[in-house]
Amino acid sequence: MSRLAAVTGIGQTQYKSARKDVSMAGLVHEAAERAIQDAGIGWDDIDAVIIGKAPDMFEGVLMPELYLADALGACGKPMMRVHTAGSVGGSTAVVAASHVTSGSFDRILTVTFEKQSESNAMWALSIPRPFSMHLNAGAGGHFAPHIREYIRRSGAPAHAGPMVAVKDRKNALKNPLAHLQIPDISLEMVMESPMLWDPVRFLESCPSSDGACALVISNEKLASEGPNKPAWIRGMAMRSETMTCKGRDEVNPLAGSDCAKDVYAQAGIKDPRREVDMAEVYVPFSWYEPMWLENLGFADEGQGWKLTESGETEIGGSIPFNCSGGVLSSNPIGASGMIRFAEAARQVRGTAGEHQVDGAKMAIGHAYGASAQFFAMWAVSSEKP
């Protein structure tokens, strides 16, 4: 990247199934206000607003950024809307940061949200179109065959996925913002929960949440002068690949590993397993933890589940994954990617509270979308390069 940028403010809402106390505008304003306060600035200090969310049909509002301009203090300013499927939360952070790294802006606000309670995401994802592949059963139905193929290839034991579900929900108990709080979560409970899309059980799936996440991203000078510790963006990348074609591997997509390699190269990371202190990775269904451990280079192909099984991805392990509880515990779809990016930044700023990884210096935020074909990632660090 040509210019340095850093996260100087982070704001998140409470995540829950229905935020009936706020409108969509109230929801995004809540996250944005918190990020601006955290950055120690005022609304006038923001040069541009970049907003992201998943499909408009999830709320039934077409290009909702138009309606949200007032709530985000964007009137008279540039406002941009990003949409890249489930990866959008991460992509929005990357596009927002490029406003600063391009030298075009000094300090921007970026916000992502979903208010799933306004509509029904499963319905919105299942509208048939002529001559198009029909996604009949929402995201879980689409990804289950990919997961089955992963299990076939790796020979992973049946409990590896459920172990992720337990670990992430235990982490969520340390995160007061997390949607799902299941104090007595156990392997038995997960494995006895109803089968939704074989092999994905009810408790191995992400919830439907309302929520918003916001970041203030500043240039080098402003970040150095700010009142709070910045999280320096050391590398960021996006990759897309086709949905179906000969040679594409849906289980271990090239776009995902390319994206990771690009970020590691920018950040000077040679051995991610050793040099990355924690990662917030997009795991909407439990089995995606071992799958992404491999795709992102933390484990060799077919070996990811062993890291999960041996507890290496827990807080205190060698590569903690999703200390905040992850997408499995809170899933306002459009914001879910940015929450990963924000939680990575919280860790390196040392402000993650009870789910803080001691001494985390380098952290990864990751998101993916559509048929595991869109990827966005960044590496943030407490250390300025």
Binding site: M1, S2, S23, M24, A54, P55, D56, M57, E59, G60, V61, L62, M63, P64, E65, L66, Y67, L68, A69, D70, C75, G76, K77, P78, M79, M80, V82, H83, T84, A85, V94, V95, S98, T101, S102, G103, S104, L125, I127, R129, F131, S132, A237, M238, R239, S240, E241, T242, M243, C245, G247, R248, P253, L254, A255, D258, C259, A370, S371, Q373
Partner: protein, 352 residues
């Protein structure tokens, strides 16, 4: 900051209803078109960015199929905005300014014919206060036009003159849906559709797609003989509540124009994205364009208005006219939202 240049631009011939031809087929046509024209390959682009709207296709994630027109395998660096392609161009320009990319492919597309566009656009208003009233896009524009007429900002004859010029200018452009010679008197004799708007005051409904190649000045010189420099580009938004705005002015256009550096150049022509005739007059005033500036030499949005591409088309037409040697410097504009809520202004100039 690094300069950016436009290398090439193509659009499909916009039609009221493309029938069985889908978005993907239209995109393939223009993407292959700009690539072949330029003599490059898909893998030569460092970045790809597009603009579209799921609601036009009536399905969530409809844009995902747009990516298939690029055939991204092996994987590419790619992004999408749920906005007009003009904003995809803006994102691509940021990317080139970072130094991470030297070139980008930008596209926008929309097939509005399967739905009832006026009503679909109601869904972009405040969902709690305005959408339930089903204030459609033409009615919202009609309220704005009425305010302009009542306040003496402009007259119905002024609006008809915009339409007459647009249709006449469109005769020189192959890709225009509405063209021909009409007198102001003839147009004013037509009945109103949504008072005070007559049917010809409203942009047609168009199906189509557009693609553009942009690059760093060095790369652009390598790829074409006459790159068009983007001297400045800026966009601004205003309140979503029409009642909180002075609808007889376009304040966000004024701010964007100033920030894009319009004052520092000799503007010879302007491609203004005005889907309604009265809006072209508001935009002309917001950008302080005098009588010497040719307005919408392509015919503008009143001649063809592909949703999610019409803004990019203004920039594309402006670049093409500079490349053709008709002008050396001009302004292009894109709009989004009801009553010109969001506006983008770009200043274009022939490379020295």
């Amino acid at each position: 900051m690094r300069d950016v240049a436009i290398v090439n631009y193509r659009q499909t011939v916009p039609v009221r209803d493309s029938g069985p031809v889908n978005e993907l087929q239209m995109l393939e046509q223009v993407i292959q078109g700009v690539i072949n024209d330029t003599g490059v390959a898909l893998e030569d682009f460092d970045f790809v960015c597009s603009g579209s709207c799921d609601y036009l296709a009536g399905a969530a994630f409809a844009f995902v199929e747009g990516v298939e027109a690029v055939g991204p395998f092996p994987p590419i660096k790619e992004s999408h905005v749920e906005m007009d392609g003009a904003w995809a161009l803006y994102e691509a320009i940021l990317k080139i300014r970072t130094g991470e990319a030297d070139s980008a492919l930008v596209y926008g597309f929309g097939k509005s014919s399967p739905g009832y566009l006026r009503s679909v656009m109601s869904l972009q208003l405040d969902p709690y206060y305005l959408t339930p009233l089903w204030l459609d896009s033409i009615s919202a524009a009609a309220l704005q036009a009425a305010q302009c007429l009542n306040s003496g900002t402009l007259t119905e004859a002024d609006m008809a003159a915009v339409v007459a010029r647009s249709r006449a200018n469109a005769k020189s452009i192959a890709a225009s849906q509405l063209k021909g010679d009409y007198s102001v008197a003839e147009l004013l004799a037509e009945p109103t559709m949504v008072s005070p708007l007559r049917k010809h005051d409203c942009a047609p409904i168009s199906d189509g797609a557009s693609a553009m190649i942009v690059a760093s000045p060095e790369k652009a010189k390598e790829w074409c003989s006459q790159p068009v420099m983007v001297r400045g580009i800026d966009h601004r938004i205003e309140s979503s509540m029409p009642t909180l705005r002075d609808l007889t002015r376009s304040e966000s256009t004024s701010i964007a124009g100033k920030a894009a550096g319009i004052a520092g150049v000799d503007v010879q022509f302007a491609e203004l994205h005005a889907p309604f005739s009265h809006q072209e007059i508001l935009l002309q005033r917001a950008l302080e364009l005098d009588d010497k500036v040719d307005l919408n030499p392509s015919g503008g949005a009143l001649a063809a208005n592909v949703m999610m591409a019409a803004g990019l088309d203004r920039i594309g037409h402006a670049a093409s006219m500079i490349q053709a040697g008709r002008y050396t410097c001009g302004v292009a504009h894109a709009t989004s939202g009801a009553c010109l809520q969001q506006n983008l202004v770009a200043v274009l100039e022939a490379a020295q």
